[in-house]
């Protein structure tokens, strides 16, 4: 019997030893590695999901940018695209990409966390302690540096704090054309964490500091975990009946000819053609 106890103790010790690395791996980072989607019932792409898209957002815009936004809303009501550039397949960039028009997957790598979007290119959040690069060009997604935080001291990380800078533009927060400042000096701060009461809900509390705003604007984006993920293939395509020449948008008629998108739109400049059309 003593030998059996001894064998049992050894077996228990072995189990402990073998369980330990797995637990250590599991506990270092929170259980983010999954597919995440916006909750059912969200209509459109409101930046603050608690409010309707468009003017209903009551965004803290300075008067100059409130006027730009209202012009965009009016232009869209008349059939134009306003400040929304998605139609010509420009990148949404940060922070709009975090509205998740398609699902997102999170992967942890040694030096960074990768957000893989169905409807956008991968976003890397560097967590290796690096500083802001001095020679990087501004991009629509910006450059993201993150830090894992163990807020309750239980030995595992709960929150990924992220700061993103170095942008390119133009960028808008919604398809309504809610604008960010054209100086692209935006700073975005995020806190990404699992809901305390529901580990199948992920929060991204996003604070935007931008010269188009009177004060930092914070919203709480929530995503729900998908346990049986499926993925669609998405690569933005300009619709075949649309053409963009410089900053101007044109339609293409069913018989393959160029058409204006709005009344009195001038035709494109044809100076590089040597002969008039017969």
């Amino acid at each position: 019997m003593r030998y059996r106890k001894c064998i049992g103790a050894v077996a228990a010790a072995m189990l402990t030893v073998f369980a330990a690395p797995a637990i250590a791996v599991d506990m270092k980072y929170p259980d983010f590695e999954s597919q995440w989607r916006i909750p059912d019932g969200v209509k459109g792409d409101p930046w603050d999901p608690a409010r309707p898209a468009g003017l209903g957002q009551q965004a803290p815009l300075i008067p100059e940018y409130q006027a730009i936004f209202e012009k965009s809303v009016k232009d869209q009501a008349a059939g134009g695209r306003g400040n929304n550039y998605a139609g010509r397949c420009m990148l949404d960039g940060m922070p709009r990409m975090m509205s998740l028009t398609g699902p997102m997957e999170v992967l942890f790598q040694r030096a960074y966390t990768v957000l893989i979007f169905q409807n956008a290119f991968a976003r890397r959040i560097y967590t290796d302690g690096r500083d802001w690069p001095v020679d990087e060009e501004g991009t629509f997604d910006g450059y993201s540096i993150g830090k894992w935080v163990d807020e309750d001291g239980d030995g595992r990380y709960e929150v990924l704090e992220v700061e993103t800078r170095q942008f390119n533009g133009p960028r808008a927060l919604e398809s309504s054309g809610l604008p960010l400042h054209k100086d692209n000096q935006t700073i975005i701060k995020e806190r990404i964490f699992l809901d305390n009461d529901n580990k199948d809900v992920l929060h991204d509390q996003i604070t935007i500091i931008d010269n188009a705003f009177t004060h930092p604007w914070t919203v709480d984006k929530t995503y729900v975990r998908e346990r049986k993920p499926t993925w669609s293939e998405y690569l933005c395509q300009v619709p075949p009946d649309r053409v963009y020449i410089g900053q101007d948008e044109y339609s293409v008629s069913p018989d393959g000819k160029l058409m204006p998108t709005h009344e009195n739109q001038p035709p494109p400049d044809l100076r590089y053609f040597q002969q008039p059309r017969k």
Binding site: R2, Y3, C6, I7, V10, A13, M14, V17, F18, P21, E33, C89, M90, L91, L107, Q109, V114, I116, Q118, F121, A122, E137, T139, F140, D141, N168, S232, E233, Y234, L235, C236, Q237, V238, V243, Y244, I245, G246, Q247, V252, S253, D255, G256, K257, L258, M259, P260, N264, Q265, P266, P267, P268, D269, L270, R271, Y272, F273, Q274, Q275, P276, R277
Partner: protein, 280 residues
Amino acid sequence: MHYPTTIGAMAVAALVSLNAAAAKAGEMQYPDIETQWRNPLSNGFGNPWDTTKPMGLGQEAPLTPEYQAIFEKSVKEQADGGQGNSLGLTCIHPGMPKVMNFSEPGEIMIRPHATYIVTQRYPVRRIYTDGRDFPADEAPTFTGYSIGKWLDEDGDGRYDVLEVETRNFKGPRVFESTGLPLHQDNQTIVKERIFLDKSDPNTLHDIVTTIDHALTRPWTVDRIYKRVREPKWREKTCHGANLHLAIGSEQYFLSADEKLMPVKAGQQPPDLRYFKQSNK
């Protein structure tokens, strides 16, 4: 007393041995390929499918007579300033297998259930390694559906090769920007063996075999990628870099000052009959 001592010794030996195995499994289970990889030929001067041969007709692709004629027509059209079978100007997804030419760098990430190939300007490619079968109800895609299997070919306790099979395609797809075509029936099967070079761990091979009704036999090429130790990522979209546009069936260029330009000598400007006023 002999038994407990023996059991203890066995237990210690087992623990040491299994601990070493566990550590080895944790660190060595997959090959060291989680990094950025670049195609050494992606220098802006063409990206041949078979990297040992020149692009275009120089590939000597094993095309059926029907598809050889389609290819030759494409080559001729391009020589005349057209696009041929290449749909790159529309920014359509190049799909498999062309996406593995890594015209821009890509990164590999490994999880037990899937290996991810994250390229700079295309959607991520997932190679499922969780033992699943090909789905029966999945919509076809340009990238197809990829199922992989890790192999330990030399029996040293770590995987050496990722074998992949990809099916369920849509098209049109080509191998090269020259318009080297795949069959329009999209019944392509692509088989790959991805592994590190035995003499140079900074070189990754993807031996790609394409089985397609446009080909007289399976066509195998060895794609090679070079490891990047300090990767940088550029933000690049096809649309942002695209200087081509199509109006109906006509192709045009966009000039540096964003004005419409002809792609060939003597090309007429677009028909402006639907505009009420001339451009001043």
